[in-house]
């Protein structure tokens, strides 16, 4: 697989009259998992959609493999970059296998609608997401976790080196959240896919990200390794939340523990009695 490059320069994104992202530049590290975090309406989904060319920028450029993404034919982009949007809709009665099969669209033509390669890829995608035995079931009858795996299988079948996922773990219970995120790690490790996620759970982001991008009010406030970037000051700035940050006892990554009026009183009090909160 060739080495993809996805980056944005001086990006300006808006909906109707409302400017959401202004003069944002970002380079997505190739072959790594990047996670974008931030408070509600900080622009993280908007940024992802802009990167995926779902939203036409009002200014600035998104580069895919060094070329302007808007100048490339959309089908070509779809062979390099796939996106799983928030709350995707499936028509009633659509089976999992049918859904995954549709991921092959960018590789097909009107006269070449099903090749051996399509078959192989789809079967592999079903296996990788452990949805093979769900293949004949309608997507709308599955549980949240199963449904999300089916959509990821579709994105997988698209066969793109870069995958963008917008809040893939919202509405899932904790076991399914971890399941989905672990699957993405596997894909990243075994197939070297570049993965960009928007997550709302900061602790998951710390665990799973190689590269964390923290946003507030449409701008990037900090980016880098979670261990380097996630501090109490950052959380205060991005989420307006008092917290303690300690090393995750299981993963070693930063673990953010909120401090609020009813839990933890003031930060100074807590700090005085607890161990140092240094994150290395």
């Amino acid at each position: 697989m060739s080495r993809p490059q996805l980056s944005a320069q001086h990006l300006r994104l808006a909906y109707d009259d409302r400017l959401v992202v202004d003069d944002l530049s970002l380079q997505i590290p190739t072959g790594r998992i990047s996670v974008i975090v931030g408070a509600n309406a900080c622009g993280k989904s908007t940024l992802l959609r802009g990167l995926a060319r779902l939203l036409k920028p009002r200014g600035g450029i998104v580069y895919l493999d060094g070329k302007h993404i808007t100048r490339l034919p959309t089908r070509v982009v779809a062979t390099r970059l796939g996106i799983l949007p928030q709350s995707p809709v499936a028509p009633e009665g659509l089976t999992v296998a049918d859904l995954v099969g549709r991921g092959r669209y960018p590789h097909q033509r009107w006269f070449r609608q099903w090749t051996t390669e399509d078959e192989t890829v789809v079967t592999a995608a079903l296996e990788a997401t452990r949805t093979t035995d769900l293949a004949n079931r309608p997507v709308d009858e599955l549980s949240g976790g199963q449904r999300q795996r089916a959509w990821i299988a579709m994105a997988l079948a698209q066969g793109t080196p870069i995958m963008l996922l917008d809040e893939p773990t919202t509405f899932l219970d904790i076991a399914h959240q971890v399941e989905v995120l672990d699957l993405l790690v596997e894909l990243n490790q075994t197939e070297e896919r570049t993965i960009v996620l928007v997550l709302h759970d900061l602790n998951h982001a710390c665990r799973y990200a190689h590269h964390l991008v923290a946003m507030a009010d449409g701008a990037i406030v900090a980016e880098g390794r979670p261990a380097d970037v996630v501090t109490e000051e950052l959380v205060e700035r991005v989420f307006d939340l008092d917290c303690r940050v300690i090393p995750d006892p299981v993963a070693g990554t930063p673990l953010v523990i909120p401090v609020s009026a009813h839990h933890g009183a003031s930060k100074r009090q807590v700090r005085a009695t607890a161990q140092p909160t240094e994150t290395s």
Binding site: T74, G93, T95, R102, Y105, F111, T123, L126
Partner: protein
């Protein structure tokens, strides 16, 4: 999975059990063409097509001048006795053919709109096609001499002009579905009002003719109707089928479709044009036959079990529904002949309600 086919075979047909019990892939070695079909869909299409043929044969055979089924085919090719030949070739056969083509066009158009709107109740009515066709047809019947070709041509022009007008009026830096519907309500209201007005100003016989047309009728449909519908379907049906794979992408929502590389505006525009074209020609030929566009795709989807727009099954189902309703309308009420639109409404409405009741019991309300 089944064993891979040898390279040298010209046509390879393979089952794909991992993708579904009835999924089959068909590949040609030269030229390199491939497709994936559902065996269930294919068998449904074959069966329904057979029923359509049977229904046409029955439709041709029964009537004031009954012709035994065994004589139908000879009469079609002109080898029967002169009376049978005339009745079959000039009266009944073109009527049945019109019914088939009109039903198929409605069915396919309904399937397109229901897939695009992701709404099982979507129908070409909304775009004002029927109101435009109705107004133009009644205008021709009442004001000009009501020979049937003029009515058809007028209705077609009315349908297309209305669709264009609604689109243009709704266009303001783009078209939102919402504005389109609102403008459609306005335009339809004007046209309906004018149509009702024309009915009050016409002489009673013209008014009766107009009402019959407005219900959707195959009375007096001859070869001059088969031609235009047939010609338009010859163009629009392949175009629609070609656009079918884009439709499958669009069904997943705009974001997912764009992510897959579907050119949304082009694909959607093309599909809407095809759907409008099919509906307009069908309405022009037979008037607005109730419910066919609405329920044929639903029936087809339940039979074929697929969610992929089911375009061909919907067309075949539409043809069958129209033919059967025409047959019932002609024969079931003694010496009264009711137009096909009355029957499709009387049968379609309870079916529609049954769909509703079923959906509620299963839990996916409405």
């Amino acid at each position: 999975m089944s064993a891979p086919a040898k390279q040298r075979r010209l046509v390879t047909v393979e089952r794909l059990p991992s993708l579904g019990a009835d999924q089959v892939s068909v590949r040609l070695a030269r030229p390199r063409v491939s497709a994936r079909v559902s065996a269930r869909t294919v068998s449904v299409c074959v069966v329904v097509f057979g029923l359509v043929l049977f229904a046409s044969a029955v439709n041709v055979s029964v009537g004031d001048f009954p012709i035994p089924l065994s004589d139908v085919f000879p009469a079609i090719v002109g080898q029967g006795n002169p009376d049978s030949d005339f009745i079959v070739r000039v009266l009944r056969l073109p009527r049945s053919l019109t019914g088939i083509l009109v039903g198929a066009a409605f069915g396919m158009s309904g399937a397109i709109f229901q897939s695009l709107a992701r709404n099982p109740l979507a129908s070409p009515d909304i775009i004002g096609i029927e109101a435009g066709a109705a107004f133009a047809a009644v205008l021709v019947i009442v004001i000009l001499d009501p020979n049937t070709v003029g009515v058809t041509a007028g209705a077609l022009i009315g349908a297309l002009a209305t669709a264009v007008a609604i689109y243009v009026l709704a266009y303001r830096r783009g078209v939102t579905g919402y504005r389109l519907v609102l403008v459609g309500i306005g335009v339809t209201a004007v046209l309906s009002g004018l149509t009702s007005y024309l009915l009050t100003r016409a002489n009673i016989y013209d008014a009766a003719r107009a009402v019959a047309w407005l219900t959707g009728s195959l009375n007096g449909r001859g070869w001059e109707h088969v031609g235009p519908v047939g010609a338009s379907m010859l163009v629009l049906v392949p175009a629609t089928l070609l656009l079918g794979r884009h439709l499958r992408g669009l069904q997943l929502g705009d974001d997912a479709a764009r992510g897959l590389g579907v050119r949304i505006e082009v694909a959607r525009g093309g599909l809407i044009l095809a759907g409008v074209g099919l509906a307009a020609t069908a309405v022009a030929s037979a008037g607005p036959v109730a419910f066919v566009a609405l329920i044929s795709p639903q029936i087809a989807r339940r039979l074929a079990g697929s969610a992929s727009g089911a375009l061909v099954p919907a067309a075949l189902t539409g043809a069958l529904v129209t033919l059967a309703s025409d047959l019932v309308g002609r024969q079931a009420f003694g010496n009264v002949e009711l137009p096909v639109g009355v029957i499709t409404a009387i049968v379609g409405a309870p079916y529609f309600l049954w769909l509703l009741a079923r959906a509620n019991r299963v839990g996916r309300g409405g």
